[in-house]
């Protein structure tokens, strides 16, 4: 509608602009004509804006943030510039600019008044004094360098400041080329390269001895003179290990290619980080290429360094290298700092050994890495966000650009987060030693999903993915079977979140069978977690739900193996809560047995139908092991041994099929240990010992791979327990005691580090067996101490859940042990009579307490045969004490 020729309204201008912007050429002209009519002012206003908008489209300046403009303006104006060629800096004359680094410029200079005209290198801080950070770092470099004097480190000669107060460092001038260029030009032989490298190690090692970490070791910082001597430069971001604020990446401007995983992930930087960089350097010196390459830019490189396996020397150079040399380099490049060489000296030593033909200390990793599976370019953006704390400067992609990637459409982002979550996580799950990286990364991905969920509530597919995302996190946090850290309660809340989502979805579409299956699974997981945190009654409820749903699903789809396995799983999980004595349980053993049998039957059939399936075999092994446990509880020893042996054999077979798998190692270790314990009880000692030793070996191997893994350490402790009891059976009391104490050591340390965690069964077991051992060897004080610890643990457990039958039973046993110790004390003839009477009275008292507790169990029906035999012996013991007291009183 044509307007009157008056001053047009701003809102109208804008509106027309937006409309006109959408179209072009003819259409635009027509639109303007139509809307403006005779109003020339209006039309001109809009046209000017359109013209400006067109220009802006092609202008860099208008498409970058203000800071770029401001920085450029500043640069143009020459603020913060410092002297140029020919200028005099204090006593020195600047000759030639050599280069610029993270916070300073380096000049070649000479002393203006020196007859010799000796060349020096002068480093000037740029940015003048306006930048306190640079200034601080500069001063620190000066301080650090002043303390270092080594033939292979460029020496600090002098320092001072210019007339305007600009500080500078005067250093030894090194006339040489960068080490990578030096090697490229000459292609020296292996011996020469290693020699050169070892000299560099000498320099770095010296710095370490002076408590300086370089943090930026790379070819650019290492020159080689004409004599072939290396010189280490640029301690610009070196750090004194003086215990002050942790070295975080926020402080350092480093180049990604040589950065260590901990530098990337924002962890503690130590001398081991230098070791790592040296490893990268050695790799490059030997092959001309670096061990990590990525086409996705610096962020992709960061991902590679943090997570992927480095290339071997042979791969990089396309020729053969000795396995030992490969191993040495690999050791320096390990992701975990504590698994690299303990010092640069060790590194250098190993190379010397290699050169001399002696055996080296580095051991190869026995795993096969599935590297290809998780190298995907597009994950770059998500992973970079996940690896929080990264601050790459030189040559880095601006975060601005990274955000543009994230600005993609909704679905793309979701696909990214999601597929990344599943594939990446599953691939990494089986890799030992990566717990922390995994946790960080999954948490980030779920954050993504969370945010998306808030924006698109009610979307079924998204809901399911979100629920699964929570499951994965929970799994990391607390699942027993996968490599994980021990935060069970956190895991519970995540499982519950997943359950809530699935309940809601199921209510909306009850006919969706897959959803129902996921729901059943969720109930199981939540139930299990509840049990693990001590809430047994609630657990039972959820698990029965799971069973009910699963049974319904199998009815609906009898031929579907997944549904059948889900049913087997829910039977088994419910049975665990009912009567598995290796966790807190409700004491319904017959009920549990029936369910385990059902589960076993289903899985046996499934595995027989698909013999190649690793998963089905693993599940069958689990069924066997559960059966075995239960059969032990109800005292069917032959049955228990048979089941346990089946389980162990399956686990061994699975491990044979895939040697490097951490989860399988652990599985085999546990299975063999359980079998060993069982065989002990049936007096089959030789086989017990063999199985026990095998288990121990496997535990120690696994625990070494992932030191952050609490579960692994717990299982080492359990392994020690088992070994202890084997030794005890063979009458090696000393050995047995050592093993028990070792187990206690590990578990008590864990308990101290995680005081909020529920007490571990292994600890109680260790004390129990230790107490028995002490009773056997006559160390009554030791027995009492150990038994008291048991009681303390049981008290905590019973407070959390008074229905805990296992804790109650153990209480009874511990009470008896104390009584037994006192009785033993009372029977020592050489003790004073008064004392003996006191001990025997105590003994009787403790026996009576024990009797009370076990009798209560019998009345409740939760008394297992093992405990029943204890109960039987107690009246006799009490009578014994009474008789002895009578004798003593009368004498």
């Amino acid at each position: 509608m044509p307007l009157k020729p008056t001053e047009p309204l701003a809102a109208d201008i804008e509106e027309l602009f937006q409309l006109a912007w959408e179209v072009s050429g003819e259409a635009r002209a027509r639109l303007l004509a139509l809307r403006c009519g005779e109003n020339v002012i209006f039309r001109r206003a809009v046209e000017e804006l359109l013209a400006a908008a067109e220009e802006i489209e092609h202008s860099e300046a208008w498409n970058q943030p203000a800071i770029v403009a401001e920085a450029a303006s500043t640069a143009r104006q020459g603020i913060g510039m410092h002297p140029g060629v020919g200028a005099t800096l204090d006593r020195y004359k600047l000759l030639e600019r050599l280069g610029s680094g993270g916070m300073g410029v380096v000049w070649k200079a000479t002393r203006a008044d020196d007859a010799y005209s000796k060349l020096v290198a002068i480093k000037v801080i740029h940015g003048g004094l306006s930048d306190p950070t640079s200034l601080r770092r500069f001063m620190q470099e000066r301080q650090i360098l002043a303390g270092l004097e080594h033939p292979h480190i460029a020496r600090l000669l002098d320092g001072g400041s210019t007339a305007d107060g600009l500080p500078f460092l005067v250093m030894e001038y090194v006339d040489g080329v960068r080490i990578d260029e030096y090697l490229k030009g000459r292609t020296p032989d292996l011996a020469r390269v290693l020699d050169l490298f070892r000299r560099i190690c000498g320099a770095v090692s010296y710095a370490h001895r002076n408590l300086v970490v370089h943090r930026d070791l790379k070819p650019g910082n290492i020159l080689v003179t004409a004599d072939g001597e290396p010189k280490l430069l640029d301690f610009g971001i070196a750090k004194l290990l003086d215990g002050s604020e942790g070295t975080r990446t926020g402080d350092a401007a480093m180049t990604a290619e040589y950065a260590s995983p901990e530098q990337i992930c924002g962890g503690q930087i130590t001398t081991a980080s230098d070791t790592y960089s040296l490893g990268v350097l050695l790799h490059e010196m030997l092959t001309g290429r670096r061990p990590y390459r990525s086409e996705a830019g610096p962020l992709g490189l960061a991902q590679a360094i943090a997570v992927e396996v480095p290339q071997t020397l042979g791969r990089s150079a396309a020729r053969y290298f000795d396995a030992e040399l490969e191993t040495i380099v690999q050791k320096a490049l390990r992701k975990e700092p504590e698994r690299r060489y303990g010092s640069v000296d060790e590194f250098s030593e190993d190379l010397r050994r290699y050169q001399g033909g002696y055996p080296v200390t580095a051991r190869p990793d026995t795993r096969r890495y599935r590297a290809r599976k998780f190298v995907r370019r597009h994950r770059g953006a998500v992973v970079a966000t996940a690896l929080a704390g990264v601050s790459l400067v030189a040559g880095s992609a601006a975060i601005w650009r990274q955000e543009r990637i994230a600005e993609r459409r909704f679905d793309d982002v979701r696909k990214l987060a999601n597929s990344y979550l599943f594939e990446f996580h599953d691939a990494i799950k089986d890799l030992p030693g990566t717990t922390r990286a995994r946790q960080l990364v999954v948490k980030r991905a779920v954050e993504f999903l969370d945010k998306l969920a808030a924006e698109r509530a009610g979307n079924v597919d998204l809901g399911r993915e979100l629920a699964t995302g929570y499951d994965k996190i929970a799994e990391i946090q607390g699942s027993e079977n996968a490599a994980s850290l021990g935060d069970q309660r956190g895991a519970l809340s995540y499982y519950q979140r997943a359950l809530a989502i699935r309940q809601a979805l199921h209510a909306v579409s009850p006919g969706n069978l897959e959803l129902a299956q996921e729901l059943s699974f969720s109930y199981s997981e939540v139930g299990w977690q509840l049990a693990y945190t001590g809430q047994l009654a609630a657990a039972g409820k959820d698990l029965r739900e799971a069973v009910a749903i699963s049974e319904g699903l199998v009815k609906a789809r009898p031929a579907d193996p997944r549904m059948r396995e889900a049913l087997a799983n829910s039977y088994s999980t419910l049975a665990d809560i009912l009567g598995n004595s290796s966790n807190q349980n409700l004491g319904d053993f017959q009920g549990a047995l029936a369910l385990y049998r059902k589960s076993f039957a289903i899985r046996q059939k499934l595995s027989a139908e698909d013999p190649g399936s690793r998963e089905k075999l693993a599940l069958l092994s689990v069924s066997n092991s559960r059966l075995s446990q239960l059969l032990q509880t109800i005292d069917d020893k032959p049955g228990a041994v048979a089941a346990s042996r089946r389980s162990a054999d399956i686990q061994d077979e699975l491990l044979r099929r895939e040697e490097g798998n951490a989860e399988l190692q652990r599985g085999a270790a546990v299975a063999n240990r359980n079998l060993a314990l069982l065989l002990l009880k049936t007096e089959a000692l030789p086989e017990a010992r063999e199985r026990g030793d095998r288990a121990m070996g496997l535990f120690e191997r696994v625990s070494g791979d992932d030191p952050g893994n609490i579960q692994a350490r717990v299982q080492v402790a359990d392994g020690y327990n088992a070994q202890g009891s084997i030794r005890a059976a063979l009458d090696d009391n000393l050995g047995a005691g050592n093993f028990y104490r070792a187990a206690i050591g590990i578990l008590e340390a864990l308990a101290a580090a995680h005081p909020a965690d529920p007490p571990r069964p292994g600890l109680r077991t260790a004390y129990n067996w230790l107490a028995e051992l002490h009773l056997k060897t006559g160390d009554t004080a030791g027995a009492i101490h150990a038994a008291q610890r048991e009681l303390a643990i049981d008290a905590v457990l019973l407070q959390a859940d008074e229905k805990n039958a296992g804790a109650e039973r153990n209480q009874g046993v511990a009470l008896r042990q104390i009584g037994q110790a006192h009785e033993a004390n009372g029977m020592v003839l050489s003790t004073a009579r008064e004392r003996r009477i006191g001990e025997l009275r105590d003994a009787r008292g403790w026996y009576e307490k024990s009797l009370a507790v076990l009798q209560k169990q019998k009345n409740k029906g939760t008394l297992i045969p093992l405990a029943a035999s204890e109960l039987e012996k107690l009246p006799g013991a009490i009578r014994r004490c009474g008789d002895a007291l009578a004798v003593l009183a009368g004498a």
Partner: protein, 184 residues
Amino acid sequence: MTKYLRAWRGGDEGALEQLTTQVYSELRRLAASVMAKHSVNPTLQPTSLVHELYLQLPDVQEIDWQSRTHFLNVAAKMMRNILVDHARKRSALKRGVVVALETDVGGSDRALEVDVLLVDQALDQLALIHPRHARVVELRFFGGLTVQETVDVLKVTGVESSVRTVERDWTFARAWLKNAIEAN
């Protein structure tokens, strides 16, 4: 800084002041170091300071989405102050001449004037007429926020918004500013 962020989200107004002070000084420090580096190596692309500061927060993965948005809001507002401040000091040194920006990346067109001070002045004018557009410029241009983040911040401050709106506002606002600057 995170604890102030959380406290403020939890309703503690005093924490906002603390947060503001800390964020401001951190951003200024970062800006100074960026300027310094850039002066020596002009091809170095400065990163978005707001994002860089965000990443430097300890426990950054603990920060929920709401807090993050508030943080961005606060920080972006400050970036404008800081940059304008810096520009004023700079031009005091060199008599307020508009400096042409030559792009180093070959092939790009000739000098196009983007002086932070001029944008700032023009922006004040724009705010009188099109306040929402001015806000978008403040967040995007000065703060370095992405389109999505701008949407989030606007919403969180009670302004209806969407990706489409922000993009349109952004286009219009820049055209307007360019014209306003060149008119003088």
